[in-house]
C-alpha cells in the first residue's frame, strides 16, 4: 500500500484502484495523478475492502478478475456499508459479470482495453453524479429539458407528449444520467419485480422514446444502448 498526493492538494479526489496487475496499477496511478487524483491501490480483494474502509476513497476502480475474491463479491461487501461510487474494469467476454456487478450496485463499467480519455470522462461523470446535489427539479442536456416537478419534457422549448410509461422510463434514466441502468433495474423500477425477464417491454418503449425525442431515431444521441447490459442517458457536456 502506497500513497501519494496529487497536485490539486486538498480538493483532490481520493481514488482507490483494486487490480491484481502491477502494470495496470502503475499506469492508472500515473494517469490519475496527472489529472489531480490522490491514488491508493490494492492488489487483491481483501486488501481492497480494508483500504476502502481505511482511506475513505471518493471513487473506486475495481477489476472483476481478482485472485482471491470475485470482484462482484468485493463490491457487495463494500456496498454493505458504503455508497462510494465504483467503476468496474472488465474484459469484453464477461457480460454476465458486468451485469451482475451493475445489479449489485456498481456505477459504471469500462471495458479493457480502454483509452485514458474515456476512463477520465467516466470518472468525472460518476463523481459529479455522486456529489450531493441541490434538489434540482429540471434536468437539461443539449436541447432537451425534463422538468421533473411539472412532469414536462421538451425539446428546443417545444413540449413533447409522452405516455405515463414512457415518462417513468425516461425519468429513471434521466435521474441517473450518465449511468448504465441494467434491464433488470429498469424493469423492476418501472413495471415491478414480476416483469424481470420481459426485456421486450423495454425494447418497445425505448424505441418509442427515441422516435419522439431523437433527431434520427436510428442514430440515438440521448439514450444509448449498452449491448447485452442495458441503457443510459448521455449528458452532453
Amino acid at each position: 500500500m502506497t500513497q501519494s498526493t496529487g497536485k490539486s492538494g486538498n480538493t483532490a479526489n481520493i481514488s482507490l484502484v483494486i487490480d491484481d496487475e502491477p502494470q495496470i496499477r502503475r499506469l492508472l496511478r500515473v494517469t490519475l495523478e496527472a489529472n489531480g487524483y490522490t491514488v491508493f491501490d490494492a492488489m487483491n480483494g481483501n486488501e481492497g475492502i480494508v483500504q476502502a474502509a481505511q482511506c475513505r476513497p471518493d471513487i473506486i476502480l475495481l477489476d472483476l478478475g481478482l485472485p482471491d475474491l470475485d470482484g462482484v463479491e468485493v463490491l457487495k461487501r463494500i456496498r454493505e456499508w458504503s455508497k462510494v461510487p465504483v467503476i468496474i474494469l472488465s474484459v469484453r467476454d464477461r457480460e454476465d459479470d458486468k451485469i451482475a456487478a451493475l445489479d449489485a450496485g456498481a456505477d459504471d463499467f469500462v471495458t479493457k482495453p480502454f483509452s485514458s480519455g474515456e476512463l477520465l470522462a467516466r470518472l468525472r461523470t460518476t463523481l459529479r453524479r455522486s456529489r450531493p446535489q441541490s434538489a434540482e427539479a429540471v434536468f437539461r442536456t443539449g436541447r432537451f429539458e425534463v422538468d421533473l416537478a411539472a412532469r414536462i419534457v421538451s425539446k428546443n422549448g417545444i413540449e413533447i407528449k409522452l405516455t405515463p410509461t414512457e415518462y417513468s422510463l425516461l425519468r429513471l434514466l434521466v435521474v441517473h444520467a450518465g449511468k448504465v441502468l441494467t434491464h433488470r433495474q429498469l424493469l423492476t423500477e418501472v413495471w415491478g419485480p414480476n416483469a424481470v425477464g420481459q426485456t421486450h417491454y423495454l425494447r418497445v418503449h425505448i424505441a418509442h422514446l427515441r422516435d419522439k425525442l431523437e433527431d434520427d431515431a436510428a442514430k440515438p444521441k440521448l439514450i444509448t444502448t449498452e449491448p447485452g447490459v442495458g441503457y443510459r442517458v448521455i449528458e452532453q457536456e
Binding site: Q23, V91, D93, E95, K112, S115, V204, I206, T225
Partner: protein, 897 residues
C-alpha cells in the same frame, strides 16, 4: 448403455418420444355376449363403421362373419389385413397375421373371438395373448367374447349347461377394458336359432341345441349382466378411490387358498378369485411341498394350477413342510391372511377321507383367529388319476439290488453267528442292517429290506427253522415287534433324509442367489456382470446360457456366452427384450423355441436378455423363481453399471468444460492486460501531445491502430476456441433489430469513417428473438470484413427484414458492400477458419467470417455469401423465428412514477 460420445440430442429426443409412445397402452373394448348368436360381431362392426366414418385409422385383423349377409355387408369399406395361412396336419387353417398388424400399426384393430386358440406354431397359444401384444404396442383393439369363456365364470357356466369349456381367457384382460354388453332376450335368440340365423358347427349341432334351452340362456344372461354390473361398480369404486385417495383395499380381507396337484384345485382357485373379487381383496395361492416326490403328470398339473392362480391375479407362494396344515398356517400368519380356503374332502377311499379329515381337524384346532372356508370342489377336466402313489417306488431298481445284496451278506454272517448265539441275535443284526440301509437308500428299498429281512429271519433262523411257522409265543411277539420296528425305523430315517434333501435344495437356491448377489456386487463393468451371471446360471442349472445385449443397431449375444444362439433364437430374445416378457420354452410366448429367454428388466429399462438352454421337460416353480431372481438381480446391477458409466461420462464432460473455461479466462486475462496497458498509455500520450500533427503523433497513431487490431485478433481467437469447444450458447431475448444494427455500426465509427453507411430496416419490423451481444459481434465482423476488403470511401448497405416462408418466420440481416466482390471459386471456402483470399489486403486474421458463421449457426440460422448484381459482396444471415413476438407491454404503474 455406455455412450462413448456426448449424446446426440436428436437421438435422445427420438428415444424419449418412442419411450412415450411405448408407454401408452392401447385401449381394449370388449363386446360381451351371453352365448353365440346374440350379434356381438355385428355390434362390433357397427361400432367400427362409426369410428371409421369419424376418421379413425382402423383395420380388420380377424373377423368371422360365418357368411351372414347382414354382417358381411358391415365389413364393406373397412381395410383388411390378409390372414395368415397355417397348415397343421394337412388341415388348412387361417389365423390373424399378428406381425402384419404390428407392422401396419393402425390406431384400432378389430379382432373377433378373443377366446380363440391359435393354430400350433403360432407365436402365442391363445388369441388373447396376441391381443395383449397389440395393446402393449399402443394399438386399440375391439374384440368379442362370450361370458362362458371368462376363466372365473367357466366353472359356473359348466354347472349351468353341463358342457366343458376348453377355451378360456383370464379375467385380468378385462380389468382395464371397456365392456359393451350385447344383449338379446332368450326367446328372441331361440327364434333366431330356429330361423337358422345362428351359426353352429355341424358336428356340435346337437350338443348346441341342448345348450340353447331357455333355462340355460336365462342363467347365462343373468351371469353376463352381473359381470357387466360388477365391472361398472369396480370402475366407480376406482374412481372413488382416486378421489378420496384412500388405501388400496376397503376390507382387511386377504384370502389364502391351498393348492395341490389335485385337479380339484382348479375349481377351488376359481372360487377364491370370485370371492376375492366380490370382497375386493388380495389373495394368495399356497402350495405346501413335502418330501414325497410327484410324478411328471402331477408335477405338470401342479404347475398348471399355480399358473392359473397367477393368471387370475393371485400371489403364488411355494413352501416346504411335512405337515400340510402347519405349512398353510405358517404362511397364513406371515401374510396376515384372514381366511383359509380348502377343498371339502371327496372320499375316494377311506384313507384319503381319513387324511383330509385330519387336515381339517388340525386347521380348525390351530387356526386361531383365521377363518376357515371348506368349499366343495368340483372335478373338472381330465379324469382323476391318483396323483401320487404312496407305495410307488421312488428309487430305481439298482437300490433294490443293493438292498437284496446286503441282506444276503448279512444273512450269511448271521448263519455264522448262529453257531455261537441263539436265534434272536441275528434278528437284531438284521435290524441294524435295515437302519443302516435307511441312511443310504430310498424309502422303497428300505421297506423292502425291512419286510424281506423279517421273513428271512423267521424262515432261516427262528425255530422251527426252514418254515414260516413260529411256535413259541415269545418268538411270535418278537417277530411282530421286529416287523413294526423295521418298517417304522425305515420310514422315519427315510423321511428325515427327504427333509434334509429338501432343506438342502432350498439352501442351495438361497446360496446360489446369495453368491450371485455377492459376486455381482463386486463386478464393476458390464463384462464382469455378464461373466458372473453366465457362470452362475451354468453352475446352478447345469445349463448353457447366453446374455443378449443391445448393440449399435441390433441385439447381439455377449462373447462370454456359453450358448450359441441361432438367428431364430435371437429373434425370440429380441421379442422378449421389446415386450419385457419371458419368451420361448416354458412360456406362452413363442413356446416352440429351444431356449428360455428372460428379459433383464428393471423398473427403469430393459437392459438385455438372459437366454438359457434347459434340457428338462418341465421347469419346476422353485427353479424358475431362482432363475428369474438371478435375472432380476443381474438386471439391477447392469443398470447400475450403465448409470454409473453415464454419470462418470457427464462428470468428465463437466470437468473438461470447467477446465477449458478457466483456461480461456486466464488466456484472455494474460493477453489483454498488456494490451490494456499499451492502449491506455498511448491514448494518454496522444492526448498530452499538441493537437498539430507531427512525427510523434503519427507514431502514436500507428501504435494505437496496431494494438486495436491485436485486441481484435485476441478476441477472435478466443471466440473461435469457444465455438470449437461448443461452449457458445446464445442467451435468447427479444431484441429491437434497429437498435442492433445501429449499435453494430456505431461501435465501428472510427473504422467506417468516410464511408456512406446506409441502414435500411423494413417497415413495422417486429422484435426478434436472438442473443443481442453475439449477433452484434457477428454484424460487426461482417462490417469489418467490408472495411478491410473494399476501397476506402465506398458505401456499405446494412438491411433487415422479416420473411415468412412455409409458415415459418425468418429474420434476414444482410451486409452489402460495393467492392470488387467475391471470386466464385473461393466462395465455398470463404467461411473456413484461417482462410484468406490470396489477394486479400493485410489487416484480417481469416477468423472473422468463421466466427460469424459459428454465431449464426448457434442461433440455428444460416449465412450465405454472394455477389451483388451491380458489383460488391453480399452476406445474408437468416435466423429462424419460432416464437411469435410478445404483445404490447402493460402500462407502468405497479411502481409509482
Amino acid at each position: 448403455v455406455i455412450e462413448q460420445d456426448r449424446p446426440n440430442p436428436d437421438s435422445l429426443l427420438a428415444a424419449i418420444q418412442s419411450e412415450v409412445a411405448r408407454k401408452r397402452r392401447g385401449r381394449l373394448k370388449v363386446f360381451l355376449g351371453m352365448c353365440p348368436g346374440v350379434g356381438k360381431t355385428y355390434a362390433m362392426l357397427e361400432a367400427a363403421q362409426r369410428e371409421f366414418k369419424n376418421g379413425r385409422d382402423l383395420v380388420i385383423g380377424y373377423v368371422e362373419t360365418h357368411g351372414r349377409k347382414e354382417t358381411d355387408a358391415l365389413t364393406a369399406g373397412l381395410p383388411l389385413i390378409p390372414r395368415r395361412n397355417v397348415t397343421h396336419r394337412d388341415i388348412e387353417l387361417t389365423e390373424m397375421d399378428l406381425d402384419a398388424v404390428l407392422a401396419r400399426h393402425p390406431q384400432l384393430v378389430l379382432v373377433d373371438e378373443l377366446a380363440h386358440t391359435n393354430a400350433p406354431g403360432s407365436r402365442h397359444p391363445k388369441r388373447w395373448q396376441d391381443v395383449n401384444e397389440l395393446l402393449d404396442s399402443g394399438i386399440d383393439v375391439f374384440t368379442t367374447l362370450n361370458v362362458q369363456h371368462l376363466e372365473s365364470r367357466a366353472d359356473t357356466v359348466r354347472q349351468i349347461t353341463g358342457s366343458e369349456i376348453r377355451e378360456t381367457v383370464p379375467d385380468s384382460i378385462l380389468d382395464a377394458a371397456e365392456i359393451e354388453l350385447v344383449d338379446l332376450p332368450p326367446a328372441d335368440l331361440i327364434d333366431r336359432l330356429q330361423q337358422g340365423k345362428v351359426y353352429l358347427p355341424e358336428r356340435a349341432a346337437n350338443a348346441a341345441r341342448n345348450f340353447f334351452r331357455e333355462g340355460n340362456l336365462t342363467a347365462l344372461r343373468e351371469l353376463s349382466l352381473r359381470l357387466v354390473a360388477d365391472h361398472v361398480s369396480v370402475d366407480t369404486q376406482e374412481f372413488h378411490r382416486a378421489q378420496t385417495n384412500a388405501g388400496p383395499w376397503k376390507t382387511g380381507h386377504r384370502l389364502l387358498v391351498a393348492v395341490s396337484a389335485s385337479p380339484l384345485s382348479e375349481s377351488l382357485i376359481r372360487w377364491t378369485r370370485r370371492m376375492a373379487d366380490s370382497l375386493k381383496c388380495p389373495w394368495l395361492a399356497v402350495h405346501v411341498e413335502n418330501s414325497r416326490p410327484l410324478d411328471d403328470n402331477s408335477q405338470s398339473r401342479l404347475e398348471k394350477n399355480l399358473a392359473l392362480a397367477r393368471a387370475l391375479g393371485a400371489e403364488v407362494i411355494d413352501t416346504t413342510d411335512e405337515n400340510l396344515a402347519r405349512g398353510l398356517l405358517r404362511i397364513a400368519q406371515q401374510n396376515n391372511a384372514s381366511q383359509i380356503i380348502v377343498g371339502k374332502p371327496l372320499a375316494a377311499n377311506w384313507l384319503e377321507w381319513f387324511r383330509a379329515g385330519k387336515l381339517l381337524r388340525q386347521l380348525t384346532r390351530e387356526s386361531g383367529n383365521i377363518d376357515l372356508q371348506v368349499v366343495r370342489a368340483e372335478k373338472t377336466g381330465a379324469p382323476l388319476t391318483r396323483p401320487c402313489s404312496r407305495w410307488r417306488p421312488a428309487s430305481n431298481w439298482k437300490q433294490y439290488v443293493i438292498a437284496a445284496g446286503i441282506l444276503t451278506a448279512v444273512g450269511l454272517l448271521n448263519v455264522l453267528l448262529l453257531q455261537f448265539t441263539g436265534p434272536r441275535v441275528p434278528g437284531f443284526v438284521f435290524l441294524l442292517a435295515v437302519v443302516l440301509l435307511a441312511l443310504f437308500l430310498g424309502r422303497g428299498p428300505v421297506l423292502f429290506a425291512g419286510a424281506a429281512s423279517a421273513l428271512v429271519w423267521d424262515y432261516f433262523f427262528l425255530p422251527p427253522r426252514f418254515t414260516f411257522i413260529i411256535t413259541s409265543t415269545e418268538d411270535f411277539v418278537l417277530f411282530g415287534l421286529y416287523f413294526v420296528i423295521a418298517i417304522v425305523l425305515g420310514q422315519l430315517v427315510a423321511r428325515i433324509r427327504a427333509q434334509e434333501l429338501a432343506e438342502r435344495q432350498r439352501e442351495e437356491r438361497a446360496i446360489a442367489l446369495y453368491q450371485l448377489t455377492r459376486e455381482l456386487a463386486q463386478a464393476g463393468t458390464r463384462d464382469e456382470v455378464v461373466w458372473q451371471l453366465i457362470g452362475e446360471v451354468s453352475r446352478v442349472f447345469s445349463a448353457s446360457a447366453a446374455v443378449v445385449l443391445p448393440g449399435k443397431n441390433s441385439l447381439a449375444a455377449h462373447p462370454d456366452s456359453s450358448l450359441t444362439l441361432t438367428d431364430k433364437e435371437l429373434h425370440v430374445a429380441e421379442w422378449a427384450f421389446l415386450n419385457r416378457q419371458a419368451a420361448g420354452k416354458f412360456t406362452d410366448n413363442l413356446p416352440g423355441a429351444e431356449n428360455l429367454h428372460l428379459p433383464l428388466a428393471t423398473e427403469r429399462a430393459v437392459v438385455g436378455v438372459l437366454s438359457v438352454h434347459l434340457a428338462d421337460k418341465t421347469l419346476p416353480l422353485p427353479r424358475r423363481d431362482l432363475l428369474e431372481a438371478c435375472a432380476r438381480q443381474a438386471a439391477l446391477v447392469l443398470d447400475r453399471v450403465a448409470l454409473r458409466a453415464a454419470g462418470e461420462q457427464s462428470k468428465l464432460v463437466a470437468e473438461s468444460e470447467r477446465l477449458s473455461n478457466a483456461l480461456l479466462n486466464s488466456i484472455s486475462h494474460e493477453l489483454r492486460t498488456p494490451l490494456a496497458a499499451i492502449t491506455s498509455a498511448t491514448s494518454a500520450l496522444a492526448e498530452s501531445k499538441s493537437p498539430e500533427g507531427g512525427f510523434d503523433r503519427k507514431m502514436i497513431g500507428e501504435i494505437q491502430e496496431a494494438s486495436a487490431r491485436l485486441n481484435r485478433l485476441v478476441g477472435n481467437l478466443l471466440d473461435v476456441t469457444r465455438l470449437d469447444s461448443g461452449y457458445v450458447r446464445p442467451k435468447f431475448d427479444w431484441c429491437d433489430v434497429g437498435d442492433l444494427l445501429q449499435t453494430s455500426v456505431h461501435s465501428l465509427q472510427r473504422e467506417l469513417a468516410g464511408r456512406a453507411v446506409k441502414v435500411e430496416i423494413a417497415e413495422k419490423m417486429p422484435l426478434a428473438r436472438l442473443d443481442f451481444t453475439l449477433m452484434q459481434q457477428a454484424l460487426t465482423n461482417l462490417l469489418l470484413n467490408a472495411v478491410v476488403h473494399t476501397p476506402a470511401g465506398t458505401p456499405v448497405l446494412v438491411q433487415a427484414r422479416q420473411e415468412v416462408r412455409n409458415e415459418k418466420a425468418q429474420l434476414i440481416l444482410s451486409v452489402a458492400d460495393s467492392g470488387p466482390g467475391l471470386s466464385p471459386d473461393l466462395l465455398p471456402r470463404i467461411f473456413d477458419k484461417f482462410f484468406r483470399a490470396p489477394n486479400a489486403p493485410a489487416g484480417g486474421s481469416g477468423l472473422g467470417l468463421a466466427i460469424v458463421k459459428g454465431f449464426v449457426e448457434a442461433h440455428g440460422g444460416q449465412i450465405a455469401a454472394a455477389n451483388r448484381p451491380g458489383g460488391g459482396a453480399l452476406f445474408t444471415i437468416r435466423i429462424p423465428q419460432t416464437q411469435a413476438p410478445p404483445g404490447e407491454a402493460p402500462p407502468a404503474g405497479t411502481k409509482p412514477a
